[in-house]
């Protein structure tokens, strides 16, 4: 079996996926709760103010979550890691809820209080999970997942408590389900920097991520500053997750399914894995969101529900596959 891959093949794969993504985006713009003929659509507010920002936001959230998943799976050396499963999304949601419920308003480096709080809580969550799963300097994959599950439940309880105490059911419940229905151009502009910078950092650290495939000690003997790289990469993944959570709430499994699947097809080389997962994540989210807003039209299914319906069985399949392989 030949698995030689090089710059040219990356280029071709990225090109094909980009064209496909563009086609899906254009197609999804014509689909919606109201049918409008193409000629009218171009002139309509629905296209420019509703569908276009929504499709862009879906694509950006897909990029943020899938790239975050690639990073976490690489750094934690655990193919089952994902921002949702590790409780990072839930931590971010608690941060966002605290910001809304307390009416806290501030701006740091151009970021408003909600993404900042989401980020801080997401970081706290990821380091808690990471520390909890460490024993004698090694992270145990199973403990890592269990710690994430426990932390997610804990965060869900805090979210419910905030909802009950503030009576702010409508706006906070939104985070629990995960939805892109509040998409707007300002949302799109908020997350663009996180997507661009996050994907850039991930790509430029693909050398470190590849070396880490051999383990932290071997990466160190290859000249990688493991502590430093781990801090930057986990920070980036948390920031990307927090950005996604602050505009779309809790959407699970994107960060798990996409990188895992792509890795099965093209192998674990992060030079390829990162761009191709990012594009595939965008593609998946645009398709899922189109389904979310059309299939039960005029009612809309939160996209988080669709991803969980597809993602949870897939996660169980992966767990089972690992068990069978004796991993």
């Amino acid at each position: 079996m030949t698995r030689k891959r090089n710059k040219k093949e990356t280029g071709i794969a990225v090109g094909i996926l980009s064209i496909f993504l563009l086609a899906v985006i254009i197609l999804s713009l014509f689909l919606g709760s109201v049918f409008i003929s193409p000629a009218e659509l171009l002139k309509s507010e629905i296209l420019w103010q509703i569908r276009l920002p929504r499709v862009f936001l879906a694509a950006l959230v897909g990029l943020l979550l899938s790239t975050s998943g690639v990073i976490l799976q690489g750094v934690l050396r655990n193919p089952l890691a994902d921002p949702y499963i590790l409780g990072i999304s839930a931590g971010g949601a608690v941060g966002a809820a605290v910001a809304i419920a307390s009416g806290l308003q501030f701006v740091i480096l151009g970021m408003s209080s909600m993404p900042v709080m989401a980020f801080v809580f997401a970081m706290v969550a990821v380091f808690m999970v990471y520390k909890l799963s460490q024993a004698a300097g090694k992270t145990n994959p199973e403990t890592l997942i269990l710690a994430g599950v426990a932390l997610s439940s804990f965060c869900a309880a805090i979210l419910s408590l905030i909802i009950i105490l503030t009576g702010n059911l409508q706006s906070i419940y939104f985070w629990l389900l995960g939805s892109l229905s509040s998409a707007s151009w300002s949302n799109v502009l908020t997350v663009i920097p996180y997507a661009v910078i996050g994907a850039g950092v991930a790509y430029f650290f693909s050398k470190e991520l590849n070396a880490l495939l051999l383990g932290e000690e071997m990466a160190s003997t290859l000249g990688v500053d493991v502590e430093n790289a781990r801090l930057i990469l986990i920070g980036t993944a948390s920031l990307m997750t927090a950005a996604a959570v602050s505009v779309s709430g809790l959407i699970g499994f994107v960060g798990l399914i996409v990188p895992h699947w792509i890795r099965l097809i093209i192998g674990p080389n992060h030079r390829l894995l990162i761009p191709i997962s990012a594009l595939s994540g965008m593609l998946l989210m645009v398709i899922a969101d189109t389904i979310a807003r059309t299939v039960l039209s005029p009612m809309e299914i939160p996209i988080g529900i669709i991803m969980a319906l597809v993602g949870a069985p897939f996660f169980l399949y992966l767990l089972r596959r690992r068990r069978i392989e004796g991993k």
Binding site: M1, T2, R3, K4, R5, K7, F204, K207, N210, A211, L213, L214, G215, E217, M218, A219, S220, T221, L222, G223, V224, D225, R263, L264, G267, P268, N269, R271
Partner: protein, 257 residues
């Protein structure tokens, strides 16, 4: 010129209870040095200290005139490469991709592998005679094949000093000899420091031996100087007779009843 100079080295995992207790020795260019000694004598710890994975408590480790704590991690990785006793094969990688990881210390952040990197990978694969395996997934290789891939990965680092932790102890006799012959050939322009359990194999292939016990160096020199009944008694508490292998003229021990 010495490639590795170790002076009064003390190190370990617990500062109060060092594993390596005051060891000094030199390795010159082109030498293939074997570290032997009983389990727990500090063989692996010594290698880990040289590759920078352990904090030095006392003394110096000097690699071609540079003390290792003064070298940046990347600089050290270009001079010293390490093949651990058990390296996990990366699922989904081909042999060539795994060997390419050895170029990590040479890669710039914003660029792909250069022609030099690809050249070095090709050379390392040829040196280990694994051209035929280059496209095979690493998870499908036998133990002996994978060990050659692991060594090629280290060689792609173009190190001055190649460290190997028990490179042959989990291999069959044919591969033990094959790997040792390859290592002996590789030592030109670099040095090799490897730990061994099998004294006869070490004596047969190494240019020098270092015998450790309880973190101290108890004998050092040519194989015939180190493999003596007295030294083996000191290190292992085993009674042996040492003979001269008539075919290789290397010292060889036989167990006494």
């Amino acid at each position: 010129m010495s490639i590795l100079r170790i002076e009064n080295l003390v190190c370990g995992y617990d500062p109060k209870n060092p594993i390596i207790k005051n060891i000094s020795f030199l390795i010159e260019e082109g030498q293939f040095v074997g570290i032997v000694g009983p389990n727990g004598s500090g063989k692996t710890t010594l290698l880990r200290a040289v590759v920078g994975l352990l904090k030095i408590q006392h003394g110096n480790i000097v690699i071609s005139q540079h003390r290792i704590e003064h070298l940046e991690r990347r600089e050290l990785a270009r001079r010293v490469a390490f093949v651990p006793q058990l390296m996990e094969p990366v699922e989904g990688f081909s042999v060539e991709e795994l060997v390419t990881l050895g170029r990590t210390p040479y890669l710039e952040r914003f660029s792909f592998e250069t022609a030099d990197d690809l050249e070095a990978v090709k050379w390392a694969i040829e040196e280990l005679k694994i051209e035929g395996l280059a496209d095979r997934p690493v998870t499908e290789l036998s133990g002996g094949e994978f060990q050659r891939v692991a060594i090629a990965r280290a060689l792609a680092q173009e190190p001055k000093l190649l460290l190997l932790d028990e490179p042959i102890s989990h291999l069959d006799l044919r591969y033990q000899v094959k790997i040792c012959k390859l290592l002996r050939k590789l030592r030109s322009h670099r040095s090799i420091l490897a730990t061994f359990h099998d004294l006869n194999i070490a004596s047969r292939f190494c240019s020098r031996l270092i015998l450790l016990k309880n973190g101290e160096l108890i004998a050092e020199g040519s194989p015939s100087e180190v493999v003596t009944p007295e030294n083996i008694w000191k290190a292992y508490r085993i009674k042996v007779a040492v003979k001269n292998n008539p075919h290789t003229h290397k010292a060889k021990y036989v167990l006494l009843p």
